[in-house]
């Protein structure tokens, strides 16, 4: 027997001896609830994941465990244990890991990864094994095409969102504050779907769209687009943008000396980072959903807890909905236990009250939240449209760039 073979056997023997030791130790406490997910910590999705989803998952775990664990119907409280990896923004890695979580680790519950592309790939896997999944960062009309019975989207979809923007612009136009609208959109699924919804919505509102331009993901210079809009006399800019191009388009608007009466940049405007980057970003509008001033129970407490734990504010849109999705899960487990079909039945039938307001799912889509437009005013992202959900009035025209 050569040296290497002996070493291997020794190692194997030691491992075999240790394993039973580990098992007996665990049996002494109540079994924790194992919740599995992947989160993009590296790669292009890491930025969004790190702002919107990851902090809320860990915040929720801390809060629930501080109370002794998640309340499970009929079982009392059990501590939450996360089983998670970095999916490297790679779809294949995520798919494989979710398969592992469902079949090998057999976790109790699954949470979604970040972003529409990931959710497209993971939702069928979760569905195959009967795990209900609530996605706070999955936006696309195509989810309906997939008709997944176990998948639920939280955020408002493109059509209602752009209808809200159209209504807000119509209101401004009726007051004589704007005349011509220009639209720019990013050339990927999200931008394209938003743009596809913009056409009919703006037409129905009777808005005069003087120009529509698209640009590729990762564009480094959008000043030609902006200069063109300025020259065409547009006084309302609607940017269907993502970070980092929403930041690029904002800084370049200032650089080409263009300050239209309405400046709307889609996603990422609701991030505190955006506000800080542009010294308050006074008057800039964007897709919104929430701020700490809304009248829903727990909103301010959630904001404070997030700041305390992560030393940064939650974003003013999907963050709150990510946290809300966990509140929903918590309530379902409390009332239906860990029985996954029962959880699904509850998700289909109940209206939930969360920090982001009432949430109700119809065929897997949240229909209780309207499209909302927000505007940075005095360092807070006020909800300015629709008036029913507003925390402040829209300021048009936008003040000068800081």
């Amino acid at each position: 027997m050569n040296v290497r073979r002996r070493q291997f056997l020794k190692a194997a023997a030691v491992s075999a001896a240790v394993v039973p030791l580990l098992r007996t130790r665990a049996r002494a406490q109540a079994k924790p609830i194992r919740i599995g997910y992947t989160m993009s910590a590296t790669g292009p999705y890491a930025v969004g994941a790190g702002i919107t989803q990851a902090p809320n998952y860990t915040l929720w775990q801390d809060q629930v465990n501080a109370q002794g664990g998640l309340a499970v119907k009929g079982e009392g409280r059990r501590m939450i244990e996360f089983v998670s990896i970095d999916d490297r923004s790679e779809i294949e890695t995520a798919v494989r890991f979710y398969e592992k979580l469902a079949t090998d680790d057999k976790v109790d519950l699954l949470l979604p990864p970040w972003g529409s592309a990931m959710n497209f790939a993971i939702a069928p896997v979760a569905g195959k094994y009967g795990y209900p999944m609530i996605g706070p960062t999955a936006i696309s009309g195509k989810f309906k095409e997939l008709a997944l019975p176990y998948f639920y989207t939280m955020l408002v979809q493109p059509a209602p969102q752009m209808q809200a923007v159209a209504a807000m612009l119509k209101d401004a136009r009726d007051q004589g504050k704007i005349k011509k609208v220009a639209v720019a959109y990013v050339n990927d699924l999200f931008g394209i779907e938003l743009n596809a919804a913009t056409g009919p919505a703006f037409r129905a509102a009777g808005l005069d769209v003087v120009d529509t331009k698209s640009y590729p993901l990762g564009a480094k210079d959008l000043s030609p687009v902006l200069k063109g809009f300025k020259d065409a006399g547009a006084d309302a800019f609607v940017g269907l943008t993502y970070p980092p191009d929403n930041i690029l388009v904002t800084s370049q608007a200032k650089e080409v000396d263009w300050n239209p009466a309405v400046f709307f940049t889609g996603v990422g405007t609701a991030f505190p980072f955006y506000r800080d980057r542009f010294k308050g970003a006074e008057g800039v509008m964007g897709i919104a959903g929430w701020n700490p001033k809304v009248k829903y129970a727990g909103a301010k407490e959630y904001f404070d807890a997030h700041v305390r734990k992560h030393q940064k504010e939650p974003d003013r849109w999907a963050s709150a909905f990510a946290y809300a999705s966990l509140q929903i899960l918590e309530r379902c487990v409390g009332e239906a236990g860990l029985d996954r079909p029962k959880i699904k039945a509850m998700l289909d039938a109940t209206e939930f009250q969360t920090v982001a307001g009432p949430i109700k799912f119809a065929k897997g889509e949240n229909v209780a939240t309207p499209g909302i437009v927000g505007q940075w005013q005095k360092n807070e992202f006020e909800l300015v449209w629709p008036k029913a959900a507003a925390t402040g009035a829209a300021v048009v025209p936008k003040p000068a760039w800081a």
């Binding site: 050339n187 698209s214 590729p216 020259d231 080409v256």
Partner: protein, 310 residues
Amino acid sequence: MAQGGGDRSRGGAQAGLGVTLSPTLLLDVVIGGFTTGGIYALVALGLNLQYGLMRVLNVAHGEFLMLGAYVTFSLHTGWGVNPLLTLLITGPTAFAVGLALHRLLYAPLLAGEAAESLESRSLLLSFGLMFVLQNAALLIWSADLKGYSYLAIPLRWLGTVFPANRVLAAAIALALGVAFYVYLRYSLTGKAVRALMQEPEGAQLVGIQTSRIHGLCFGAGLAMSAVTGSLVSMLFELTPFMGLPYTVTALVVVILGGLGNMVGCLMAGLLLGLVETAGVYLASSDIRLISSYAVLSLILVLKPSGLFGR
């Protein structure tokens, strides 16, 4: 002085999707192209040195740009240091790091056995380096988008508007590039470098120390990358993963200009910047990259060793 803006929708010839040609547009394209191109040229110069001289394919080149950008960001937002001053820190630091990396990693590779697969193995090595650097940046600065505003003031000139920071960044990049070229041309070390590039064996015969020159060039290459990063941080947002696209662009510029050819590299960078900017103005934005590759393909068809290569 006439305001070019108002005339745009009426006078002038039509081009592409309803954009009118006018002197202002031309100026827009040229200056815009030069600002983008200057940055491309500088980052490519660094890669050209390494690849042209040592046949070392360093795909982690863009990661040093990323690190330079982050260091400038931290110094500016944390200690209020003027971003332009930070170039004096990021440049020399990257140079020193380059010397060390060359000594530790690349010199053994170059000297060791299996030297024929040098290109492939240096690719592997730099890929590992890329992972390490990205992860390190991630751990230090996190994946959150970071950025700052510096000199985002509109400059009005000849009827059109340009941002001061972009123009300044491009001017510095070009100045550094030209200065480096002059150094290569007229200094003794520069001559040694060029000798090594043209005739590796002959150069050694006249007593030029290969390893030392390699180290210096590796360091200089990384320094240029880091300095470009410092300049870039004034214009764009930072993420730990911003490096790879710059590496890709640098590779394209190096090939366009001819491997080992410094002047070619400078001109190719500017050309690429111009083509991209023109593409954005005259047609849809996606054409931008397609046009860059179309130009690259055309040139390579006509001259497989690059625009200025021998």
